[in-house]
């Protein structure tokens, strides 16, 4: 791919089409749908997501309430739509933060090696040996319960992943001839890493970012499920599932099932895109 000369003639419609074809998968369509829902929630949602209506408690799905209502008479469809904002924003922010911290440190570790590399690598391994959920509980215990901390948790658990991944893809590149050439040309290390090393490692890292976002959504919903990170009645998928959990044995399934399906679909979308990117770069 890199050997192709890029010229104006290369941009024929057929060629652009073949370049864009990977975007025409159900995963991307799903992601686009979620993004649109997050942006347009106020326009699509038929009800105010935190408007209680004591006349309309626990109604099953109907034409008036597509996904039914919860114990407070809030419209679940509207809440699921609005919750897209919470979950997607937390996940994307957390992963972006982990990316910004983990990738440069990982690149430096992989490129320079030495004791610094050893230190960061060992620390990452130790952090990763603490089961993720327990680690999250500890951070919440120490720092308090808020949405900001939720983003911090998502970021912290992902930093070691990005760090180790970047390190492992940078290491084989640093001995390539073109890096030696850049070094001989007298370019400073920071410039070599930024201009010549990192661009060649982006495939696996971007793929990991998408997979991490999928897990971030699971983590966000999971923590909210046990009351961490978001407070009711703020619409969030995990806390909505939690609201419905004790009602399952009464047969009021819709309270949990619809937000749960939303989590599942969001995870599938991000995970699928991540794997798709990984496959492209595997060859």
């Amino acid at each position: 791919m890199s050997a192709e000369p890029v010229s104006a003639a290369a941009w024929t419609p057929a060629r652009v089409g073949s370049r864009l074809r990977p975007l025409l998968t159900p995963y991307w369509a799903l992601l686009l749908l979620f993004a649109l829902v997050a942006l347009l929630a106020p326009l699509i949602a038929p009800y105010d997501p935190i408007q209680a209506d004591l006349e309309a408690k626990l109604l099953p799905p109907s034409s008036a309430h597509l996904f039914g209502t919860d114990e407070n008479g809030m419209d679940i469809f509207s809440r699921v739509l609005y919750a897209t904002r919470t979950d997607l924003v937390v996940a994307v922010l957390g992963v972006a933060f982990a990316f910004v911290v983990g990738v440069p440190i990982g690149a430096m570790c992989g490129y320079l090696g030495g004791w610094l590399d050893e230190l960061f690598n060992r620390t990452s391994e130790i952090v990763q040996s603490i089961p993720l959920f327990l680690f999250a509980l500890m951070i919440f215990a120490a720092l308090g319960n808020s949405k900001t901390i939720l983003v911090v948790v998502v970021a912290i658990v992902n930093i070691p992943i990005f760090l180790k991944l970047t390190r492992s893809v940078v290491q084989p590149i640093k001995n390539q001839d073109y890096i030696a050439a850049a070094r001989l040309a007298g370019q400073p290390t920071s410039r070599i890493v930024l201009r010549h090393v990192l661009p060649n490692t982006l495939g696996p890292i971007v793929s990991q970012a998408s997979i991490s976002a999928a897990y971030a959504i699971q983590i966000t919903a999971g923590l909210a499920f046990i009351g961490l990170g978001v407070e009711l009645p703020h619409p969030e998928w995990g806390s909505m599932i939690q609201q419905g959990a004790p009602l399952i044995m009464d047969g009021d399934w819709w309270v949990s099932v619809f937000p749960g399906l939303a989590v599942l679909l969001a995870v599938v979308a991000f995970g699928g895109i991540g794997r798709q990117i990984a496959r492209r770069y595997d060859r």
């Binding site: 603490i130 089961p131 327990l134 500890m138 215990a141 046990i226 599932i241 399952i248 995870v267």
Partner: protein, 341 residues
Amino acid sequence: MRRGFWLRYLGRRLLAAVLALFGVAVIVFVVTRLLGDPVELILGQRATPEQAAQLRAKLGYDDPLPQQFVRYIGDLVQGDLGVSNYTQRAVTDEIADRFPATLELALAGMFLGLLWTIPLGVLAAQRPGGWVDRVSRAIAEFGLAIPNFFFGLLLILLFAYVLGWAPAPVGELDIGATPPPRVTGMVVVDALLAGDLSTFSSALKYLALPAITLAVTSCPPILALTRTSMITALRGDYVRSARAFGLPQRTVRWYALKNSLVPVLTMSAMTFGFLVGNTVLVETVFSWPGVGLYSVQSMQRFDYAPVLGVVLLGSAIYILVYLLADLISMAIDPRVREGQT
């Protein structure tokens, strides 16, 4: 010479495990003492400044940090994880009461997980891209994508509410049922030891759904790895020779499986190591009285010593299981041994 090598290897792995445990303890120390205020953690935010100062002096939080650290490590080594603010009991005792339930659930989940992932992985590798491969991949993808607590709820909805095959999610036994005499702490095992078959079958019913939840949501990586390492193994020269000799398909498959077991074993160990952490939400959904539910309940009571205790326990289990898997794969696979010399 072999013996010396083994001892040296064992020593090195043990040392690494101890260092990792130490590292986890350091992280817990840093997070709680430097980022948060331990006295606030214990008293909650409503305490008066005098109360806080009193407790601070009593627990030695006025001492210089290095001294605190030494005392903290000393306590840990003696198995002292502090006192629960809610029950006033030692956290170590409370955890010891609840850990068997978690272990029982994790073992059952792991057993079911291996039962479906390894055979499917082997079958999928026979014909990559075939229907078994595609179906098993779809199941694995689903298991990974669905949050375990939500999958648990769906199982409850289907098997407990709609079909009535499973009991309502109230823990290990019927509410009010007398548990069997405590031997291992695992109700299923204890019931069997006591020869109490009705309790045994009831306990199995309670165990089924949470164990299936763990098996489906935590084990897909084992399936993927079994498949890949089987595909690699089936491409090996010895497989071609075995086929050329006309050995039956089953024998050939067995050779390949033996050769692909080491990575699968390591992955299974990692999965099991993480099961203890992964049970947190599943235990919450099924009111399963293990350490995961304990940590969540403690968290909701602002009782933090138990939370930190479970964090240390979960990490220690992960590190130890990983060490064990490492040593076992050393013992069974000569190639790993060669690689280490």
